[in-house]
């Protein structure tokens, strides 16, 4: 049992960086979930499936366009949009009729969508996993105190704050963002003011799902694109959203940080049980703050 | 039996109950009156443990009960009915009262005997005493509003309380139902030796049954006295009873 045998300052620093880049993906996915949960009050279990579809779409588009770098960038733009389109269809066709139902029902409904999406992916892409290589200049790694740090992770470290800023701007500085935040707290009031709440919901839902697709697109070059992706990410995203505070974007960031960092530190401290560390952290947080660390919109 | 002193409770700066005081002796029927928002229901919540006061004391049979858990307070001998009907919607009339009886008898962890056979007689007795005997098997959601309010009282009786707290027991009732409930309350005191604390807007009803009246306004105790004294109290007249016509 190699327990704590690798902890050097360099290794620590490297793992923190790895953890932070993992945080980017987790944050992007969780913030989308938090947005949908906070404004529409839908616990969207299918969020993970959209993430997976985003990854698969990225692979397909990049492969279709061919020639390495251009393909990836185009896929990065188009795949999340494809996911957004899909979610728009789902919202208009199905969800908008169910807003008045109990949360448990909504959860089960989105779970059934997970089942459908899962098989659709199997239908379209087959059961094999796919892998995608990052564009040339993002491949490989460079040295950090003698330990390798993948260049792609640096790219993620750069993207993360960008998305965070974009989200902050959207929710705090744009009119629609402010209305959505108001609708999260009191949808009846917003409706009484003459604003079409249904449209606000649709836009918020699509943006949230776009983020899921974006997360999937960004993660595509870093791991195998497989069938089980949706199951693992959705549990992580839900737990992050809960410990952060339902509907709170900054809570999602905080939760993603906790999750990503405990995961990478776990790899350093006790590799065999690395995946247990984030769950333990979640349990500890929920024991002391069962409603989450930051204020929720519920 | 019940002694409340300097009781205070505020919500985000709004003083729902402000330095209230009240005394209820055994066997009395005491009414709490006051305009809407005066803090009557909050006062009841504080007595039964649903809310914890910011300061002050509530002593029941010489024991301090402020901020205790509701189920513990019930076991000590206080039961209540609710202003807005608060029943077990899926259960029948019989089963609603039976829950209270089972809880009182401490039989709630009994896992294996069919509940249909336990505490049957006592439950039927309670239903008969309030006049719901013939409707025992109806799902309570199908009862008339008046019957539901009576069921509220029946459930409270299931706990065999020493002090019965009724929150607007005749609200929304027709004049006949009000008279019946009035008669029921008198019978409960006379036959079962209950002490009753209740609040109401129907002044005629209050003045006909109450031994003493406590008047609340903006969370404070404006007056606490016999009905006649309260009627003649100038402060009360000014604040609440107006020119003699009372809100109903």
């Amino acid at each position: 049992m190699d327990f704590a045998s690798n902890i050097t300052a360099a290794a620590l620093f490297q793992q923190v960086l790895v953890g932070l880049s993992r945080t980017t993906i987790l944050f992007i996915v969780s913030s989308g979930l938090s947005l949908v949960l906070g404004v529409l009050r839908i616990p969207n279990v299918a969020h993970g499936s959209l993430y997976m579809i985003g990854a698969f779409l990225t692979y397909t588009i990049a492969s279709a366009v061919g020639s390495g770098a251009i393909g990836f960038w185009i896929a990065l733009v188009l795949a999340p949009l494809g996911v957004a389109l899909l979610s728009f269809a789902a919202e208009r066709g199905l969800f908008c009729h169910l807003y008045e139902r109990e949360h448990l029902m909504l959860l089960l409904f989105t779970f059934s969508m997970t089942l459908v999406f899962n098989d659709l992916v199997k239908l379209i892409w087959g059961s094999d996993y796919r892998s995608l290589t990052a564009p040339g200049f993002l491949q490989g790694s460079f040295d950090v105190f003698g330990l390798p740090f993948p260049r792609y992770n640096l790219f993620l470290l750069f993207i993360g704050p960008l998305v965070a800023f974009g989200l902050w701007f959207l929710t705090n500085r744009t009119k629609i963002g402010k209305i959505a935040r108001a609708a999260a707290v009191d949808r009846e009031m917003v409706g009484a003011m003459g604003i079409n709440v249904g449209w606000i919901f649709a836009v918020t839902f699509v943006i949230g799902c776009y983020l899921a697709g974006l997360g999937g697109a960004l993660v595509a070059p870093t791991q195998n694109i497989t069938q089980g992706m949706d199951h693992t990410i959705i549990i992580e995203a839900f737990l992050i959203v809960i410990i952060g505070g339902l509907g709170n974007i900054w809570g999602a960031l905080l939760g993603a940080l906790i999750f990503g960092l405990t995961d990478s530190l776990g790899i350093l401290i006790w590799p065999q049980f690395a995946i247990v560390f984030p769950y333990v952290a979640v349990v500890i947080v929920l024991l002391f703050r069962p409603k989450g660390l930051l204020k929720s919109t519920w | 039996m019940l002694r409340i002193e300097a009781l205070t409770k505020s919500f985000d700066g709004f003083m729902a109950v402000n330095n209230a005081h009240l005394t209820v002796e055994q066997g009395e029927v005491v009414a709490v009156i006051g305009p809407n928002g005066a803090g009557k229901t909050t006062l009841f919540h504080l007595i039964t443990g649903q809310l914890a006061p910011d300061s002050g004391s509530i002593r029941f049979q010489e024991k301090e009960i402020a901020a205790k858990a509701p189920h513990k307070i019930c076991r000590m001998g206080i039961a209540r009915s609710y202003q807005v009907v608060n029943l077990f919607s899926r259960l029948s009339v019989f089963e609603n009262v039976q829950v209270a009886v089972l809880a009182r008898r401490g039989k709630t962890f009994n896992l294996f005997r069919p509940s249909r056979t336990i505490a049957v007689e006592e439950t039927h007795q309670i239903l008969d005493s309030v006049g719901l005997g013939g409707k025992a098997d109806r799902v309570c959601g199908l009862l008339s509003h008046g019957d539901q309010k009576v069921l509220e009282i029946a459930i409270a009786l299931g706990s065999r309380p020493a002090l019965l707290i009724l929150d607007e027991p005749t609200a929304g009732m027709s004049p006949e139902e009000t008279a019946q409930t009035l008669a029921l309350m008198k019978r409960l005191v006379a036959e079962f030796g209950l002490t009753i604390l209740f609040c109401e807007h129907d002044m005629a009803m209050v003045f006909s049954i109450a031994d003493r009246i406590m008047v609340m306004q903006q969370g404070q105790t404006l007056a606490e006295d016999t009905p006649e004294a309260v009627r003649n109290n100038l402060l009360v007249q000014e604040a609440y009873l107006g020119g003699g016509a009372a809100p109903c």
Binding site: Y279 | H71, N86, S115
Partner: protein
């Protein structure tokens, strides 16, 4: 006591059904016997979930943990501790009940969604431990070829064992639902505030409910091990927990035998649709979506509403 609970007609139907089930291995192929045994185990599991879900109103989002825990407990007691099977079969559900109590102590303070999420996080923790502890639990491979006692080793033996255990467990759970505890528990579902007002310690009762549900989930876990001869971490995965909730929804969660029916439908669907297409999850997903749109009371609930008056006792079969 039996007479007090069931009408003569119900007893007759039940007796006929039981006779059919007992005779089944003589007339039906081994595959169907295996399938039915699986249905017994899954149905028992779904019914144990419904004890706290439908009858208790608790958002039990990760019930599968207790199922897998019971299965692992039996397996480890038989393989690592070399315990005599009788004791192992009795002890394993107790382990699940203990886990139910432990998790309950932490989660019962919360309500609804928060209760469910904390349960999922705790359950995922248990799953992660089982998933990675290769030396003890076999990790993601699980444990196979478990040495079961001869009596239950064959598929017929496993079938009769599952039938008997399932029957006895259902009977006990039915008694509990109709007992004073069950009545209070349903009261807590409908109106916890009122329960407190009449002197019921709500948290303590909910804790007891968690232990009971955990116990019977553990029993179902032992049945699974008996039928399959293996155990793996997927038994504790959250997708199974949600599937169980779906089974309860499908069959009707205010009716005692609803979850059993739901489990049977799902297992049968999975097996037979799976023969024709590998996209059976797609079928399930669509069926479920239709169900949520049109039949929120579940199949059995819907049928009962059509058949009987509105005041029907929901705990009767």
């Amino acid at each position: 006591m039996i007479r007090a609970l069931f009408s003569a007609k119900t007893l007759l139907v039940a007796a006929l059904l039981l006779a059919a089930l007992i005779l089944a291995p003589q007339v039906v192929s081994r595959f169907y016997i295996y399938l039915m045994a699986l249905i017994f185990a899954t149905g028992l599991l779904a019914t144990s979930l419904n004890m706290v879900l439908g009858f208790g109103g608790m958002y039990q989002f990760h019930h599968a943990v207790f199922y897998g825990f019971g299965a692992y407990a039996l397996t480890l007691l038989l393989t690592k501790a070399g315990m005599t099977p009788v004791f192992a079969y009795l002890l394993a559900p107790c382990c699940s009940a203990a886990l139910g109590l432990l998790l309950g102590l932490i989660t019962v303070r919360l309500t609804k969604l928060y209760f469910g999420m904390l349960q999922i996080s705790l359950g995922s923790l248990v799953w992660a431990l089982a998933y990675r502890w290769y030396s003890f639990t076999g990790g993601d491979d699980g444990i196979h070829g478990i040495p079961l006692p001869d009596a239950v080793y064959s598929s017929t033996g496993a079938y009769y064992f599952s039938l008997a255990v399932c029957l006895v467990s259902l009977l006990i759970m039915y008694l509990i639902v109709n007992s004073p505890f069950g009545r209070i528990f349903q009261g807590i579902r409908d109106n916890p505030e009122r329960c407190r007002a009449v002197g019921v310690d709500v948290h303590r009762h909910q804790l007891a409910g968690q232990a009971i549900a955990g116990f019977f989930a553990g029993v179902a876990g032992t049945l699974f091990v008996t039928v399959e001869g293996s155990v793996f971490p997927e038994l504790m995965f959250w997708t199974l927990s949600l599937e169980l909730i779906i089974m309860c929804l499908l069959g009707g969660w205010f009716v005692f035998l609803g979850p059993m029916l739901g489990a049977a439908i799902i297992v049968v669907l999975r097996t037979f649709v799976g023969i024709y297409t590998e996209y059976w999850t797609l079928v399930l997903g669509v069926v479920l979506m239709l169900l949520i749109f049109f039949l929120p009371e579940g199949v059995l609930g819907f049928a009962l509403k059509k058949a009987g008056p509105a005041g029907a006792d929901p705990a009767k079969e």
